[in-house]
Symmetry: C2
């Protein structure tokens, strides 16, 4: 889908990490519509021909490039930058990988794995996974953030108060995101295209896929939220919830340990039932299964649940 | 709704805490259908006439009674008890309270509050909350568990490997729950009727409501899961997701702190927008808003989101 836009920021206008001293690639007035040409998290190092053997050669100094920054006239600290996600222009492929040392179950999965997905965005695409698995495409930017007040170069992988690498899968078409502005002009950058992901991004990667994203930029003067907040235009799971869920749980005093237990149990259940390797089940969970906190008040034990949508194999 | 059942366990067959030496209230063969008369968490101490002033007088030695235990012939450690939730017979009221010292934001909300809900279960009930708020009824047992292997009396408030006070809102009609059996006969008990709740039960109470619950009990020999797991018969949020969500986030290295930040921000947003007190917004979040872990791999910062369904005020 091609969307009307006032400006386009091409991928060549990319930077690595956050730095509020970067010169804007573009300066716009509030109300402007801007198209970002968003690279994938490998910055083009992976292609549809990539394999697991290419993962150890990944140049980490070039991962997670973001396109921008875009300055918004009149934005000052204390404002909210209101970002309406108008629409995406997709390619027809993406990758999901297990990268050693990265991901929720890094100890259990020490080896490199790669899956290349193919999909047809013009047809309400499903991405196929082995025999019988199909994941609906629902694109969003893994990384969307404004420049932090902290001076100098700031690491890009972890998200923070001003957003950044949020990897939050409901930031999709029609959603309105409010980010707290910490520097003059806000300095918005976007990267890390994702074609689909579950809540948690448990293996550390989604369906990683470059795309073009068009957004409308407005200001809410003095409206900075304490952390990013957003409004979704409708349901967030109807693309995948039709057949219900298999749900595993982790019960205990540490939410992180319970999340790991729930995901590990789901990997075992899915790999056993559908005849795939545990690493492949782990990658599949990352792109379609959701982590929820089902109970967080019955001290000392909380419950984290992993919801795997059965429509993927229906 | 009245459902055909082989046996009924009345509320008088109640116990406080878990103890594998308790004599079964009933022994059934696998395949049996059993109706549990499930008390509310106050064990009848609260009524439709209760007010916040009654909370300090709550006798905690009588809270969270569970009905049972029911022994299942042939169940041995290592089996899974397969529990199919067939249906509920509801009353027309429930309560939600802020109980000092209890709940995710106990430090922010030190005072007692009580809300009495009214609903008409025969009409696809919505429970009204102040001017304009309506929460769909979706009942489930807050507490459902089998006896733990650990000897002696075990505390009832916290859930554990064998289930118990799971407060997991998707354990509703049609769901199949698998609990790991740790003692001969399994010894199933059920309590803590909930008419509706969000993921997390953030204020510490749901719409607390007595009901009758009918379940089918079967065994999966040798099938004990590492923690409870369940299968839902369909979508888990369609009763409430039609209008989309307001979403607040917490970003940081501690999932618990991020959950508190997300809920606290949502309380502020809801109370400000809809003109209710912060304690009332907190209670409303507990019965309808969901906690999700949207990102758990971008060290050192994870993202917990609080999803508030806009249909509640639509």
């Amino acid at each position: 889908m091609k969307i009307e836009s006032d400006h386009t920021i091409h991928q060549e206008k990319r930077h690595y990490g956050w730095d509020n001293s970067l010169k804007p690639a573009l300066t716009v007035s509030p109300g402007s519509v801007v198209t970002f040409d968003v690279p994938d998290a490998s910055g083009g190092q992976f292609t549809p021909a990539s394999k697991a053997g290419d993962i150890p050669g990944l140049d980490f100094s070039n991962v997670n490039p973001v396109t921008g920054p875009v300055a918004v006239e009149g934005a000052v600290p204390g404002d909210a930058l209101k970002i309406t996600l108008l629409g995406f222009e997709l390619t027809d492929w993406g990758w999901t990988a297990i990268i050693p040392g990265f991901g929720l179950l890094a100890d259990r999965f020490p080896d490199s794995f790669m899956h290349i997905w193919r999909f047809a965005p013009e047809t309400g695409a499903l991405a196929e996974f082995g025999p019988g698995g199909r994941v609906p495409i629902r694109p969003f930017p893994g990384t969307i953030g404004v420049a932090p007040a902290a001076p100098g170069l700031q690491e890009v992988i972890n998200p923070r108060r001003v957003g950044g690498n949020m990897d939050t899968r409901d930031l999709t078409e029609g959603t309105i995101l409010y980010l707290p502005v910490e520097v003059e002009g806000a300095l918005l950058s976007i990267g890390d295209g994702h074609a689909a992901q579950g809540d948690g991004e448990v293996c550390g990667t989604a369906i990683e896929s470059p795309f073009k994203l068009t957004v409308k930029l407005e200001l809410e003067k003095g409206g900075a939220p304490p952390f990013p907040r957003f409004t979704t235009p409708g349901p967030v799971t109807r693309h995948i919830d039709e057949k219900g869920y298999e749900v595993t749980t982790g019960v205990g005093p540490d939410l992180m340990a319970s999340a790991k237990a729930a995901v590990s149990a789901m990997v075992d259940l899915i790999s056993g039932r559908y005849g795939m390797s545990a690493p492949h089940a782990y990658m599949l969970c990352s792109v379609c299964a959701d982590l929820r906190i089902s109970e967080i008040v019955d001290a000392p034990n909380w419950i984290v649940t992993c919801h795997f949508p059965l429509s993927v194999f229906a």
